[in-house]
């Protein structure tokens, strides 16, 4: 029986969700595999597991339950080990690395921020700032909409200007939010948001972070800003270039309620 792995945490984690429903239909019960100072949160892996909504939810639910009470290194969805022993083997082999990561991320959660333009608002911006676009739009309008070619020409200019504005706003948003974060991880560009940025935030300053989001919303009303969190630190499990030095401090500062 292969083993589905949700995440890695400290063996001393105060409330491991043993028995919680995990992936599969019916949901497979969550089990805990301990090895030294570490514990893996696992369940049996159902046959033919696919990335369906309910499975993704189950994965995220188990992790948010673990993450609510203590630090967890979340696995990417769909990680399956041949058996339990393979899991404990990995824990033993890389114990030091995982312990270091758990220490670095302790008391911290991830907030993911996605932003899109409110289209009409950004078009107003673009028109207001670009006389050339304004002139062409005007002449098209007077010509009853313009020819196919002039429409394309206008659209192309607008698209370029909107793209420029996207980059500008993404930077502005990131700048506005990063002061309250310990680390920043910029997500892939290809997913259809002008900004898709994750912030690693200490639990005790989560309110400050959310206030910064509100301020940013107020200052940039042409952006639609969506925040998701607190989440397990999906984007910060591996030390990356965005990680500042000295994150190992902190300890059990969140107190975990």
């Amino acid at each position: 029986m292969s083993t589905y792995v949700y995440g890695i945490t400290a063996a001393t984690h105060p409330s491991l969700p043993e028995g919680t429903g995990g992936v599969g239909d019916p949901p497979r019960g969550v089990r805990i595999l301990k090895e030294g100072d570490l514990a893996a949160v696992v369940s049996d892996a159902p046959e033919g597991l696919r990335p369906k909504r309910r499975e993704l939810l189950a994965h995220q639910n188990v992790l948010s339950e673990v993450g609510a009470e203590g630090c967890v290194l979340p696995m990417r969805f769909g990680s399956v080990a041949p058996d339990d022993r393979a899991v404990t083997g990995v824990l033993a082999e890389r114990a030091e690395h995982y312990a270091e990561r758990l220490g670095a991320l302790d008391g911290r959660v991830e907030y993911n921020v996605k932003a899109t333009h409110v289209e009409e608002a950004v078009l107003h911006h673009v028109m207001a700032q670009n006389p050339e676009i304004r002139a062409l739009a005007e002449s098209n309008r007077q010509a009853g909409g313009g020819t196919y070619e002039t429409k394309i020409q206008l659209g192309e200019m607008v698209a370029a200007a909107v793209k420029g504005k996207e980059a500008e706003d993404a930077t502005a948003l990131e700048r506005a939010l990063e002061p309250t974060a310990d680390a920043v991880s910029v997500g892939p560009e290809s997913t259809g948001w002008l900004a898709n940025v994750s912030f690693l935030v200490k639990r005790e300053v989560a309110d400050d972070f959310l206030e910064a989001v509100e301020r940013a919303r107020g200052e940039m009303p042409h952006l639609e800003v969506r925040v998701n969190g607190p989440l397990p630190p999906y984007s910060f499990v591996e030390p990356g270039p965005a990680e500042p030095a000295g994150t190992a401090a902190g300890g059990a500062d969140a107190g975990a309620g």
């Binding site: 995440g7 696919r50 990335p51 369906k52 909504r53 309910r54 939810l57 994965h59 995220q60 639910n61 948010s64 993450g67 979340p74 696995m75 990417r76 969805f77 990680s79 399956v80 080990a81 990995v90 959660v109 991830e110 907030y111 993911n112 899109t116 333009h117 409110v118 289209e119 009409e120 950004v122 078009l123 107003h124 028109m127 207001a128 304004r134 739009a137 098209n140 313009g146 429409k151 394309i152 206008l154 659209g155 192309e156 607008v158 698209a159 793209k163 997500g187 892939p188 997913t191 259809g192 994750s198 989560a206 309110d207 009303p221 969506r226 998701n228 989440l231 984007s235 975990a256 309620g257």
Partner: protein, 145 residues
């Protein structure tokens, strides 16, 4: 259950906003070489769907139309002053009808998700929309349309 007040509860509230969290769950998180990953074939398609193709003829035409509409709504103003326009923007722009390539992305995801869900047969169906709304007040109007 959770000590952090936020839009999404830390414990068990994961049903919310899943499609925003989706790519984190799928693309980030720890990967261990010794483990295999389940096939994400359906998800790859979803990711391509999500892309906003700004550089396409369709987009150009749509932008051109949008600019025409914009002008008509704003009145025949040949040389609109900057402050004027910006004022209008905050007033009417933010709550205007702004569906299209830009905001359409989110819908593409939810559609794709719906598909995946239907595909999955009798699955429980947590609401993702209301939660997304809660997280982004400026979206409210848009979603009612």
């Amino acid at each position: 259950m959770t000590v952090v007040p936020a839009q999404q509860s830390g414990g068990g509230g994961g049903s919310s906003g899943l499609y925003d969290v989706l790519e984190l769950v799928l693309d980030r998180g720890l990967v261990i070489d010794a483990f295999v990953r389940v096939s994400l074939v359906g998800i790859e398609i979803l990711k391509i769907d999500v892309r906003v193709v700004v550089a396409s003829v369709d987009t150009y035409l749509r932008f051109a139309e949008a600019c025409n509409r914009l002008d008509l709504e704003a009145g025949p103003r040949k040389d609109p002053g900057l402050p004027d326009l910006v004022g209008e923007m905050t007033e009417s722009g933010a709550r205007g009808k702004s569906k299209g390539a830009l905001s359409g992305a989110a819908e593409t995801i939810s559609d794709a998700f719906k598909q995946a869900r239907d595909d999955g047969g009798s699955e429980r169906e947590p609401q993702s929309r209301p939660r997304a709304r809660k997280a982004a007040p400026s979206r409210r109007k848009e979603e009612q349309e």
